[in-house]
């Protein structure tokens, strides 16, 4: 029954799919492979595709001491502290706020539905708009160049997202289950803790992962609000120099270490994350 033209079309599709995978993976491969090259292999022509692996750049990036005195390690640690702080704040406060918006809309100013949407519009601002005043306010408060400054700044952007996303997950919980809890005389917090939250765990997990990834990958605010005491890895990645030269292999190794956490998270959670990445547009 298969027509010849269909067979050709299918073949074309498969070739295209193979090209797509190659195109997708090559820049990542190139980062990874640059990190294991020796200094001479990095700057040579023709390019070296499969170098004899030399792990010392990776080791240098991951160790507390070493030729680069642990700047890579410290930057990754800073990123971790900031991302975890942001995620914790956003998930806890976000889940509670979203719960009230979803289950008790009448108790929220302007009603839960439009509230969640209004909150979301803050995400639409280009980050540079709030960053200019935040820079000045933090300067006045002496907060510049601290972990706390970035945790607060990232929360500006991630908390609205967390509230909006958590609300879509809470909205999916069948209303009779929630009402049954109310009839049993549960207090709002008990209802949240015992019934609503456990039912929304998959959603909670993916919001947590996305908040973490957003904070982990952020660059612009990190660049502006930090300088020497705190330096997230994205900033180091953009500015790392050694002896007047751009540190190719150091940066490549740091980039690879930096992209591993988001990739692991998403591989584990891939089926649940689609909704979050498309802001709830795709369920």
């Amino acid at each position: 029954m298969i027509q010849k033209s269909d067979l050709v079309v299918r073949l074309v599709f498969i070739v295209v799919a193979a090209v797509i995978v190659l195109w997708t993976l090559f820049p990542i491969y190139w980062l990874a492979v640059t990190g294991v090259k020796t200094q001479t292999d990095v700057l040579t022509s023709p390019p070296v595709w499969f170098p004899k692996p030399d792990w010392h750049f990776y080791r240098d990036v991951l160790s507390e001491s070493g030729i680069s005195q642990g700047v890579g390690y410290i930057a990754l640690r800073d990123s971790l502290i900031i991302s975890m702080g942001t995620t914790l704040l956003c998930v806890i406060l976000g889940a509670m706020a979203a719960y009230v918006c979803s289950v008790f809309p009448a108790n929220v100013p302007t009603g839960g539905k439009s509230m969640a949407f209004t909150i979301l519009t803050f995400r639409m601002f280009p980050p540079i708009v709030p960053t200019i005043p935040i820079f000045w306010l933090f300067f006045l408060l002496g907060l510049l160049d601290t972990h706390l400054s970035l945790i607060i700044a990232f929360t500006t952007f991630n908390l609205p997202f967390a509230i909006y996303m958590m609300k879509t997950f809470f909205d999916d919980i069948p209303r009779p289950i929630v009402d049954a809890g109310l009839v049993d005389g549960y207090s709002p917090f008990k209802l949240f803790w015992k019934i609503v939250l456990p039912l929304a765990v998959p959603g909670l997990v993916s919001v947590t992962a996305l908040c973490f990834v957003f904070a982990w990958n952020e660059f612009l605010m990190s660049l502006i609000l930090t300088s020497t005491a705190v330096r997230p890895y994205t900033v180091l990645l953009a500015t790392w120099m050694t002896a007047m030269e751009i540190a190719w292999a150091h940066r490549a190794a740091l980039a690879v270490v930096g992209i591993i956490p988001p990739i692991i998270l998403v591989w584990i959670l891939r089926d649940r994350l689609v909704r979050g990445m498309t802001l709830g547009a795709v369920r």
């Binding site: 540079i128 929360t155 660059f219 547009a281």
Partner: protein, 291 residues
């Protein structure tokens, strides 16, 4: 039940998150409007001085800003179109080209990887590949007889090179939404077409594309919103150079505020692009409703 709800008002659970958003979003935004109405340069050491709308008047006559807007139009228009076309090809190839569901899920997830990479890391990888002396792209270009291209050093090409990196990173996002859209098309439509013996391309044009319309609009809107915020990849790849030939508005605002230290003008510029984006977004949505 109503009485019980009023008895313990759950609004306390909403308040902390709400207050934080209020304090760290709205206060800075109001402060930013105030800054934008001041002549304020950190370099001079002078205190801010109200000059009302002068920053906004200055902006309209600033060629560097106007040029960056033109570049943004090119960058967003061409970049998002290409992401859409490639995203359509990607999602179709994966959906129709791979029979085994397991394999499809794996390929799909692999193809999502670029959007998880920190934009700075992606930019760095493309910066290495585009490098004028050691870049892998130019090596193979010249090896197979194509002309040597100075990807990041040629003022006419630099912005396009950055755009290619951006396309690499965000086509997966288009693909993801279009793929999800494709999943939502009922299989019965295709079965009917198969019975009629319709050819693949015709099926694509008559069934797939029209059903995807809503999803295409959404993906394009989200990508457009992102492209006026765009800065990370640009920052690491060209920093707006050579000269200002690849400078987009957000980067210009960054330079104005944190390199030239003119906070007042930078704040005014940042509001200008926000308003432009809101207007553009509304026009887009109106057009969407009409069609």
């Amino acid at each position: 039940m109503q009485a019980r709800r009023r008895f313990v008002n759950p609004v306390w659970m909403f308040t902390p998150g709400f207050l934080i958003i209020l304090v760290i979003s709205i206060v800075p935004l109001i402060f930013s409007v105030y800054i934008s109405l001041n002549a304020w340069s950190l370099a001079g050491g002078k205190p801010p001085e109200l000059n009302w709308g002068l920053n906004y008047v200055w902006m309209v006559t600033d060629p560097r800003f106007l040029d960056s807007l033109v570049r943004l139009a090119y960058y967003a228009g061409v970049g998002v179109s290409l992401q859409l076309i490639l995203g359509l090809i990607f999602s179709t190839a994966i959906y129709d080209g791979i029979r085994s569901a397991r394999m499809r899920s794996i390929v799909l997830t692999v193809c999502l990887t670029p959007m998880l990479v920190a934009p700075v890391a992606a930019g760095f990888s493309w910066w290495m590949m585009d490098h004028s002396t050691y870049g892998v792209i130019n090596y193979y270009f010249t090896a197979v007889g194509l002309p040597y291209v100075d990807w990041l050093g040629d003022p006419r090409i630099a912005l396009t090179s950055v755009m290619i990196a951006e396309i690499w990173q965000w086509t997966p996002f288009m693909m993801l939404i279009l793929y999800a859209g494709r999943l939502s098309i009922p299989a019965s439509l295709y079965e009917a077409a198969e019975l009629d013996g319709a050819r693949s391309l015709l099926v694509f044009r008559r069934i797939t594309l029209p059903s995807l319309k809503k999803f295409i609009a959404l993906a394009v809107l989200l990508r457009l919103i992102d492209s006026y915020k765009f800065i990370d990849t640009l920052f690491i790849m060209t920093h707006g150079g050579p000269g200002t030939s690849s400078e987009l508005p957000t980067l210009y605002i960054y330079v104005k505020a944190f390199e030239q230290l003119q906070l007042g003008r930078a704040a005014a510029l940042s509001w200008a692009i926000t308003l432009l984006a809101i207007i553009a977004g509304n026009i887009f949505l109106k057009m969407q409703e009409r069609s």
